[in-house]
Amino acid sequence: MSIRHGLLALLDQGPRYGYQLRSEFEARTGATWPLNVGQVYTTLGRLERDGLVESAGEDDEGHQFYAVTDEGRSELRRWFDTPVPRTNPPRDELAIKLAMAVTVPGVDVAAVVQGQRRHSMKALQDYTRLKGRALAADTGTGGDLAWLLVLEQLIFQTEAEIRWLDHCESRLGQHAERQAAAAAEPVAAPPARRAVKSRDRGRL
C-alpha cells in the first residue's frame, strides 16, 4: 500500500508534522488502513533520504514539519498519471484456502464456502450501514467524499467476493454432478432429462 504517495499528496497541500499527517490520512480513508505514528515517521525518513521531502523547521511546541520538494511533486504527479499495476495479484487467503479445500480429502468445502459467505455478508452489512451514515453526514467537503469512495470500494470488493463464492458453490455442484454421471456411465454424456429438469427448476 502506498503510504509514501499518500503522505506526499497530503504534503503537497502544505508543510505538516507527523501526527497531523496521520490524522489527515485517516480522515480521508476512515479507519480502513490505520497508520501508527512510527510508520509515518519511518516513511518520512525514507522520503527525506530519497529527496522527495525536506525538513521545514519546528514550531514552538517542537513539532518537526516536513515539506514536499520539487522532485517529490513530480513523483506524486507520476503516481496519479500511472495506473495501479494489476500484474502480480496480491495473495488472497480465501482463494488459497478454497484451492486447498477442494484437494484435501475430508474437508466440507460447501461449509467453508457458506461460512465465509455469512462472514462476508455481515461485513457487507456493516459497510453499508457506515455508508448510510456517511451519506447522511455528507456536508459536501472533500474529506467526506474520499471516505465514501473508500467505503464503496470495500463494498464492491466484498460483493465481488460473495458473488465469487456463489459461483464456487454452483461450480462445485456441477463438478459433483459430473463426477456422479461419470461414475454411473463412464463414457456417455450426462442424460438429457436431467438438464431439462434443472432448467425447469430455475423458473420456479
Binding site: M121, A123, Q125, D126, Y127, E159, I162, L204
Partner: protein, 254 residues
Amino acid sequence: MTEELKPAKPVLHLDRVSRVHGHGAAEVHALRAVDLKVYPGELVAVMGPSGSGKSTLLTLAGGLDTPSEGQVLVEGIALGELDRKKLAAVRRRSVGYVFQDYNLIPALTAAENIALPRELDGVSARAARKEALAALEELGIAELADRFPDDMSGGQQQRVAIARALIGQRRLVLADEPTGALDSTTGESVLAVLRARCDAGAAAMMVTHEARHAAWADRVVFLRDGRLVDETARQDAGSLLVTAAANARKDDDR
C-alpha cells in the same frame, strides 16, 4: 434490532411452510418447512440461487399462493383461514407487493396505478391521487405521474411499482428483485426509501441476488433447495473497521 427490543408480534410469520408443485414423479419441493418471522422495523433480504424457492417464499408471504403445509400469518391473521374477499382486503391494506415484472395496468397512468389500491379501499379519488403524487415524489419520479406504463423505461416502471407498494400505511412490504432494472445509484436510492420505511416501523422482505443490495437489510437469510440454511444478523456498525483499527495500533512498526 436487538433481541430485547423485538416486540412479541411479528408482522409476517411463515409457520413451517412447505410448498410442493406437481405430483408423483414430477413432484418438486419448492419450499420445505420454512420458519421465518419478520418483525416491525425489520428489513429481511432473501438470497439463494435460482430454483432455491425465493420467489415461492415471497408469493406465499403475500397470499398469492397457498402453502401445501404450514401457515402464513400476516399481523397475526392466518391467511389460509380467510375467504377470497377478506384475503384480498388484507393484501390490499396490509401488504405492499413489488412484482419482478412490475404488473402495472397498461390503461392507467403512473399516478392512477398507484392510487388504485387506495381507491379500492374507499379513499376518495382526490385523496388517493394526493397520496400517489407523494409516493412518486418520495421515489424521485414526480414527473412520471401522468405517463402510461408503455411510455416508461423498465427502471421507471419498476419505481412506479415500488411507489404502489409503499402507498398507504402498509405494515408489510414484499419485493421481488426491486432493483433489478435500476442502475447502481438509482437502485440504492430505492433501497434507501425501503430502509426508511422500515426504520419508521414497517416490516419488509425482499428477494435479491445482489449481495450489495441485500446488505441494506437487518437480516439476510439464505435459501438452498427450499430450505433456510443460514442467516446473518447485522452487527453493530463499524465493528469490523474499529476492530481492524485497534489491531493495527497494537502491532506497531511494520
